[in-house]
Symmetry: C2
Subunit: 412 residues, 2 copies
């Protein structure tokens, strides 16, 4: 019997991904280019990650993670959704900002702290700057865990020289696809989060894709998203739960960086891309929804919900004589939140915007792992269908080069 | 001698706002429709706000604010930028989510806590639901401060019946223009923030506008933003400081809700609007910038910087033998952050996107007050230039109605 998967429903006519897209995906997989698909099955890597986290958990209360982009967004998504904040503390430091870093370490005891420096290439300027500032402030007593390429890069070399603990980011797993590698799982395990559950959920999506191909959940998402990719330049991704807002920001990177491309796989100029807009329902109902309802009809919307609060009747209470409040008496705020997700979906659909619904029965490691893997597969499928390389990011080089120049970094 | 104002420079050819737009603005002001312009001069209101905050500060350590949209975004911007977290605690509760609220009150002592319920209309469903949940969890011993319309609405009536403290949101100040009313200033004063400084900064912008009209800072911003409003459907607002990210989210509401309109002032269908995209530099360099550099050229970008870190030479240190790190040795991370803002501005301009630069000499109450007022005036000017009403938000009614219906709220 197959596992229960989260629910996804596009509220409009759409086309599935084409068989040739699926073929190309499977070819890339065979060529070993889609390493993220293997992460749920890399039990050795997961065991090493969990054991190292367990070892440090015994002696250390706070982990500072220096990392940015793909080395922080997935981790933030995991922590927001699953960290009940009852155990060890994980602080994600992704701003090269002396005040932000000072504030982060203000209450830390150096002997109780651990620093993880996370950069696949081993050379990311912000990450190394943040790491060096953390090390200056916490001192050399705080142990270091370097998470980087298994073989290449200056951080790998340095870590070996210094005798720091290390964990690998597999060579064929790019930053924005690395959440289920040690990048996301080492800090998650340190925080006491169910990392095995994350991998199990992800594996369920891979198995569904292998079994059901074009009818799998990941392919259905790809088909629906792709159908409105060119007609609607903005993709609003709007979870009705603060616990999933960082997942929306993780998806924003995945979608923007994978599909925003100047040239296609044949070298033709295309300037393709759809702007992801991470929103917070219901807060953004009171901020951006006016624009969605009345402004240019250039948006497709994915409304994300979780849970199934029972819609109970109002109960008598302190404010039962207030018409603005009596209907809320004795009722859980979650009932209102779900009613608003429903109402906003309907209003936006009536307005003519294509609205997808993504629903998790609850927020747990299994469903979050499913979401990660399903959106990763869907993004690669979308890229291949568009004819662009979803795995590279050549556009960020120019800015890097200019920044290095200004900083006098040599040999770049 | 005039006060120092923050710096704003569009990096492209643009047209200033037209004289007739300025005339219409001044007409609306005379008609009393632009109440936000008077807030810096309403000394009685500021005194009442500060005194009430001071009274509660003496006995209470934590303020819970139930508010959403215009009743939370400006406050969040103030707290992120200016709260050094050394004094009284302010917790903004803008999610109708039982788990979020439970976690927020988990460590609160009911006798040490104070609840503020903020809704201008007095009927905002989420705000009242959150307030009722806070009150159920904290008990009736926690005093309540209601911030609402000075005369109308059910919350005003209820507060008087219950004997709660109240502060007014002036009738001619809409939610998204209310940050310098008690909505933002009561919690800010409770946290110990320099509210007089915020108002002084805002007044400096009003005076600059009155003196220099079309050449004032606010009008220059309006002219530059307006020049790329229709040609570039997405406006990226990207502070290179985490302390200003909530200011970007505040601006997103102001821009989206004021200018995203189905009809113009003459009742013609226009469906106008520009999608604001709040970003975090440098983090979003590793997330969205690939799309900005290579995707559709549909974006104008406002890069926001603060401070003037001295670009010192690298110093010898622990990592001086590492080519990926030696140029960072002994140098403040802020130098890198500023170099990246500069580099990304240049790279995006080279790519052909219109880039504005907004620079604050430092983050303090005065400059933040300036930013609030300048962007508010600029937004109203832009709306009038586009011929739409920047003060209403008719598009959110449909969703509200559907949600109320689902909840069985009567008499709506």
């Amino acid at each position: 019997m197959s596992a229960q998967l989260f629910d996804f429903k596009p509220g409009f006519n759409w086309n599935s991904v084409q068989p040739e897209t699926l073929e190309q995906f499977n070819l890339w997989r065979k060529q070993g280019r889609l390493g993220f698909l293997d992460l749920p099955y890399n039990l050795t890597l997961h065991r090493d990650t969990a054991e190292l986290a367990e070892m440090y958990r015994r002696k250390h209360g706070t982990l500072f993670v220096a990392g940015i982009g793909g080395s922080s967004l997935g981790l933030r998504a995991i922590l927001s959704a699953l960290n009940d904040q009852s155990g060890r503390k994980v602080i994600v430091a992704d701003s090269p900002d002396s005040r932000v870093i000072s504030r982060a370490v203000a209450n830390a005891s150096p002997r109780n702290s651990l620093i993880s420096v996370v950069t696949k290439s081993g050379g990311t300027a912000e990450t190394l700057s943040i790491f060096m500032e953390l090390r200056r402030k916490l001192g050399k007593d705080a142990p270091v865990v370097a998470i980087t390429d298994p073989v290449n890069g200056q951080l790998r070399e340095l870590a070996e020289k210094k005798g720091w603990s290390t964990l690998p980011v597999p060579a064929n797993v790019g930053g924005r696809f690395s959440v289920l590698s040690p990048v996301g799982l080492f800090p998650a395990a340190f925080a006491g989060i169910d990392t095995a559950g994350l991998l199990r959920g992800a594996a369920e999506i891979v198995e569904d894709f292998e079994t059901n191909s074009g009818k799998s959940l990941a392919a259905v998402i790809a088909g629906a998203f792709l159908s409105r990719f060119k007609s609607h330049p903005v993709h609003v991704f709007m979870p009705y739960s603060d616990y999933l807002y960082d997942t929306a920001l993780w998806f924003a990177q995945l979608w923007a960086e994978s599909l925003g491309k100047a040239v296609d796989l044949n070298g033709n100029t295309v300037a393709t891309g759809q702007t992801p807009l991470a929103c917070r329902g219901p807060a953004d109902q009171h901020s951006l929804v006016q624009l969605f309802m009345e402004g240019p009809a250039d948006k497709t919307v994915t409304i994300v919900t979780e849970g199934n609060p029972e819609n109970t009747e109002p109960q008598p209470g302190e404010f039962s004589d207030q018409p603005a409040m009596n209907y809320l008496e004795g009722r859980n705020p979650d009932i209102l939140r779900m009613a608003e997700a429903e109402a906003t979906s309907t209003a936006l659909s009536e307005r003519g915007l294509p609205v997808n619904r993504l629903h998790l029965p609850c927020i747990n490691a299994g469903y979050l792992g499913q979401v990660f893997m399903a959106l990763e597969i869907a993004t690669v499928l979308t890229g291949l269908a568009l004819g662009v390389d979803p795995l590279n990011q050549p556009g960020v080089e120019r800015g890097k080069l200019l920044a290095y120049k200004a900083m006098g970094r040599e040999g770049y």
